[in-house]
Amino acid sequence: MALLDKFAAVAAIRAGLNTSSHDPTQVVIGTIISATEGIVEGRHTILAGTNNYLGLTFDPACIAAGQNALATQGSGTTGSRMANGSYATHAALEQELADFYEMPYGMVFSTGYAANLGTLAALLTPGDAVLLDADAHASLYDGCRMSGAEIFRFKHNDVVSLEKRLQRLGERAENCLIVTEGLYSVLGDCAPLRQIVEVAERFGAKLLVDEAHSLGAYGDHGRGVAEAEGVLDRVDFVVGTFSKSLGAMGGFCVSPHAELKLFRYVSRPFIFTASSSPSIIATTREALRQLVARPELRQTLWRNARQLYQGVQSIGFTTGPEVSPVVAVRIGEKEAALQCWNRLLELGIYVNLMIPPASPDSSSYLRCSVSAAHTTAQMETILEAFRQLRQN
C-alpha cells in the first residue's frame, strides 16, 4: 500500500458522515457569544456539547486575570520548562492544585492529553503491568502504549473483572498500576471507586484516577468522584484537565508520592512541549479560585443536569445509567443518530454525536454536556428540541 493510500478509508468514513446536511466533524462556531451560546451557520445556537461544566469561559474575573497576564508577562513562553525555565506562575499553579487536593505534590502539563501521556509514560516502563478500564479515554490508552508496559484491559466499571485479572497476574499484581476515570465522558457513568480502591489495596496495586470530566462537578469541594466516594486520600495519582470545568487549557497530576517531583526529568510529553502561556495559567488559577469560592456553581450544574436527564427520559428517550453533567441520549443506529444530530443543529441546539467505535456499546448516542451557565429557559429549549425529535 502506498503511503497515502490509507487515507482512502478515512475519506470513505468521512463521506458516510456527510450524507446529510451537516458534517458533525466540521461544525464551525462562527461567533461565540457566551459560555452557552454561539452563532452556527448564521443561526443562534445553544451550546450543549462543550464540557464547559461550570460555565467559566466568560467569567469576568478569569478574563481579567488572563488579560492582565497577557499584558504583563507576554503572549507565550516560547519553549519548554526544562529548557527555558518555568515562570513563577507555573510553579504557583502546581502548588495551588496540590493544596486543592490536599496532596503534597503537583505537576502541570500543557494539555490534558499531555498530562495523561506524560504521567503514564513516566510512571510505567517496559515490563510493568497496567490494568486499564476498557472504556478509558484514548489519552490513557496512548500513555500506557507509549510507556511500553503490558496493558491488560478489564471490563468497564466491573470490579470482579478487575479482581480476576489481578489474580491472574500473581505476584506481579503487587507492582502494577490500575487506571480508571472518575466520570466517563460518553455515557456519564461514574467508576465504583470505593470498591476499586479496596481491591487495589488488597492486591497492593497503585491506582491512577482521571478526573477530567468530574473536577468541579463531584465532591463537597469539587475535587471529583474520588472525593465524592470518600477515597481521595487512598488514590495514588489524580490526573485532570483545565479545559473543561476550568475553562482554559492544560492538564495536571497530583500525588502523595514524592517521586512525582522526578517525573519532569523522564516525562517526554512534559520535557519536549512548550509550557502553557502566562494568560492560560492565569485564567486557570482564577478559575480554580472560582471553583473553590462559588460552590453554588456546582449546585446549579446539578439542577440543570437533573432537569435535562429527567426531561429527556420523560419524553421517552433512553439515557445513560445515572444523572450526571453528561447526559447521553441513546438513538441506536448510526444513520438515525446522524439525522437526529442534524435536526437538533437546525433547531439551534449543538450536542455531540457519538457513534461506534467511539461509543462503548455499538450504539450511537447524542451526548449533551450540561453547564452551570445554562439558564432554565435554555434547558427548556433543549428539551423542546428533543420533544420535536421524538415526534418526528
Binding site: 503491568a129 476498557a134 496493558i151 491488560f152 484491559r153 471490563k155 480476576k164 497476574l169 461506534p356 467505535p357
Partner: protein
C-alpha cells in the same frame, strides 16, 4: 499438561461463534464459516475495539491474562491461537 495450539484454536473458534451469534441472528447474511485462516477484521468485520472485547472473553473463558500489546501481529484466528497458546502454556 500443555494445551496444543490446535485445541486452543478450536476453543477460540467455539467462543468466536458464540460471540458473533447475536450479530448473525440480526443479520443472517453475515454468517460465515470460521476456521484458523479466518481474518478477524476482513472476514468477520470486527473492528479493533471488538477484537479487544473478544480477547477479554477468551481471558475469562481460559482464566489467563493476555496483554493487548500482543494483539499487534494478530490478523487471523490462527494468529490469535498462537498468542493465547503462549499464555496458556507459560
Amino acid at each position: 499438561m500443555n494445551s496444543t495450539k490446535d485445541s486452543i484454536e478450536q476453543q477460540i473458534i467455539a467462543l468466536l461463534v458464540s460471540y458473533l451469534a447475536p450479530r448473525w441472528e440480526a443479520d443472517p447474511q453475515a454468517r460465515t464459516e470460521v476456521t484458523g485462516a479466518t481474518n478477524l477484521t476482513s472476514d468477520l468485520t470486527l473492528d479493533s475495539f471488538q477484537v479487544m472485547e473478544f480477547l477479554m472473553e477468551i481471558e475469562d473463558a481460559l482464566d489467563i491474562a493476555v496483554d493487548m500489546n500482543s494483539l499487534s501481529d494478530v490478523h487471523t484466528v490462527s494468529d490469535l491461537a498462537t498468542v493465547v497458546a503462549r499464555r496458556v502454556n507459560a
